[in-house]
Point group: C2
Chain length 384, copies 2
């Protein structure tokens, strides 16, 4: 095992992720390059878009997700294993990848937040049917939503089950989050057409063929032959250490006691940023992700295909990560509901529904913390 | 043990409870007979009230609680052991006791509901200080609150910590629930001065000296000498059976899974009575109480003093009962918040705070169910 864990494994992993990135980018371009069709601007303007295949939009959503996924992994690996890499190259690359994945993630975030809030409104109204989200310009099939969210289509909404307040709250959130999504969509389109993006893509293309390790990047400073194995494990262990330290600082005992009502404390606080308690959990979410990527890199280049990479990671680690994703999503959804309630001149019934929704999402936050500590306690994470 | 469990034990228990009732009534009359001082009508009108001792009001709150307590126990015992008692007497007595304890409980219920909601508003605002409730006419010490709630006095409220919405919601609830309390107070005063009440008190006074058992009540139907032991256990077991049947019908598996989000389903339902799911739990609460009283009666007349009676009952049974009390309180507090949100012309911020409060209390409902199943599962209730 030790023989595998050298810079060769790291280089193979980075090359594999770079290849994934380029493949996703090609799929994205094939499924329909960015047109000016933004979500919410009406039934799909089927004009300038690509091949016009019905499956194009869905392909494109997948492609955008794969693009984000690869960008996150390259960026995270650069962070964890930076001492083994060409420092100038790594330092120049990381902020660009962070910019890219951040920009691409935003549209998805707004869309899934709206989805989550509308679902919650229906659940709170005793209706199990998923609400039909506002049409996003995909009616003609070929209209593209380059970085969209996979929307689960179900039966039309049973609006009769909603109170006036819940219906109005849903409409308000729909309006606000669709607007935010539209803006994020335009920003993503601009980003994908920018020279900044092309520079990143060129760098990733280079990475797919050659990884600039510190030894090769700085031949003058090379102290060992290029093929000498360098142990990745201390750096992976350091990433793991940062994670366990951050987890140790979390209030896990409180989180493990169900219905502790912690997440909603300050729920009515006049402080506009009332939930600093969420930040350490968000931080652990990022550190857990870095730890996972480090494990993938240790496993080496055979982690190139998405499936096999995740197979090498403990299922319970994934469960903990999913709990923290849910924590983040619920935290941001709660903030969106609180934000919507500050809209001037809304009806009291709308505000009431938004209050219930806010509290509901804060309890989701608490539930996610409970789920996290449960997964975490169940199986301590072992570094292979 | 079997020798104790005869009608003699039943009679002793009923006599002891009747004595408690009369003692509480005397304390209530001594600590200050009903004046027209209702809560919220201003600083205590120290006119016509009793001895004017500073501790009078507190005494009276205790006395009112003891009165309700004894009335519930007599009524419950009459229900469970009715076949052993004079049927005409028992049938005539029970509705009167139910009327009395219901009437006396109402003021307490409104007061503690307000207390609970204001506390929750402060907790949700991140302020741990208990809000100072509206002065209830006790400022002069001697002003009486015959059936009031024991109010825990703490530091003055930190209103600066409340948002406008939370403060307005608190003021609205204060207004509405204090009005309801004032009405309940007047009703209780009228009840305690009514001939109907005096008739009940007379009957209880008779009970304190002689319990009308079926044998003595209907000498013609007597089939055994008056002193023959009659086993109470089958009737107590039947009460226990009704309890376990009702518990078995509860969704305990769901309740045992924390954060199941069941209690808030229908939280935004247009149905004005959106929580029929609470009813079986309320029913179990009543059956659990009857079971406890039956255990007390089996233990016999030595259960006369409150402390020793409760000592004979499993602590975990008490925990289960407390969880169900909390369930009922939170359910009704949530309904009061929802009701207040329907007040016309309230500000959106007020409605929002009431929505958060409603959801918070519904989660308290869920937490209470979780606590109940926990106590219940921990220790199956054994009939001694």
């Amino acid at each position: 095992m030790a023989a595998d864990q050298d810079t060769g494994a790291l280089a193979a992993y980075l090359r594999a992720q770079a290849t994934e990135f380029l493949r996703a980018l090609r799929r994205h371009r094939e499924s329909g390059p960015g047109t000016s069709t933004a979500p919410g601007t009406g039934p799909g303007t089927n004009g300038t878009s690509g091949p016009g295949r019905p499956a194009a939009a869905e392909d494109d959503v997948d492609a955008a997700r794969a693009l984000r996924r690869a960008a996150r992994r390259i960026s995270g690996t650069l962070h964890t294993f930076q001492p083994l890499l060409d420092p100038d190259w790594a330092e120049g690359m990381r902020p660009e990848l962070a910019w890219l994945s951040g920009t691409l993630a935003l549209e998805h975030a707004h869309a899934s937040r709206l989805e989550r809030l509308l679902q919650a409104l229906h659940r709170l109204s005793g209706s199990s049917a998923l609400p039909a989200p506002r049409p996003l310009g995909r009616a003609s099939g070929a209209a593209t939503v380059p970085t969209g969210v996979p929307v689960v289509r179900q039966a039309p909404p049973d609006r009769g089950n909603l109170t006036v307040g819940a219906a109005k709250a849903g409409a308000l959130l729909d309006r606000q989050l669709t607007l935010a999504r539209t803006r994020a969509h335009s920003t993503a389109l601009q980003a994908l057409g920018s020279s900044r993006f092309h520079a990143v893509a060129d760098k990733v293309a280079l990475l797919a063929s050659e990884v600039p390790l510190r030894l090769t990047g700085h031949p003058g400073r090379a102290t060992a032959p290029e093929t000498a194995p360098f142990d990745l494990r201390p750096l992976a262990a350091a990433a793991h250490g940062r994670l366990t330290d951050a987890v140790a600082a979390l209030p896990l005992v409180a989180a493990g006691s169900p219905y502790n009502a912690q997440a909603l404390v300050h729920g009515l606080s006049p402080d506009p940023a009332p939930h600093p308690q969420d930040a350490p959990w968000h931080q652990v979410r990022l550190l857990l992700r870095l730890h996972r990527y480090a494990l993938e890199a240790l496993a080496g280049g055979d982690a190139g295909s998405a499936g096999s990479a995740e197979d090498t990671v403990d299922v319970r680690l994934l469960a903990a990560g999913e709990a923290l994703d849910r924590h983040r999503d619920a935290s941001e959804a709660a903030a969106a509901a609180a934000q919507a309630a500050r809209t001037p001149r809304i009806a009291p019934a709308t505000a009431y529904a938004l209050g219930v929704l806010h509290a509901d999402q804060r309890h989701e936050v608490e539930a996610a913390r409970y789920a996290f500590q449960h997964s975490w306690r169940k199986e301590p994470i072992r570094l292979p």
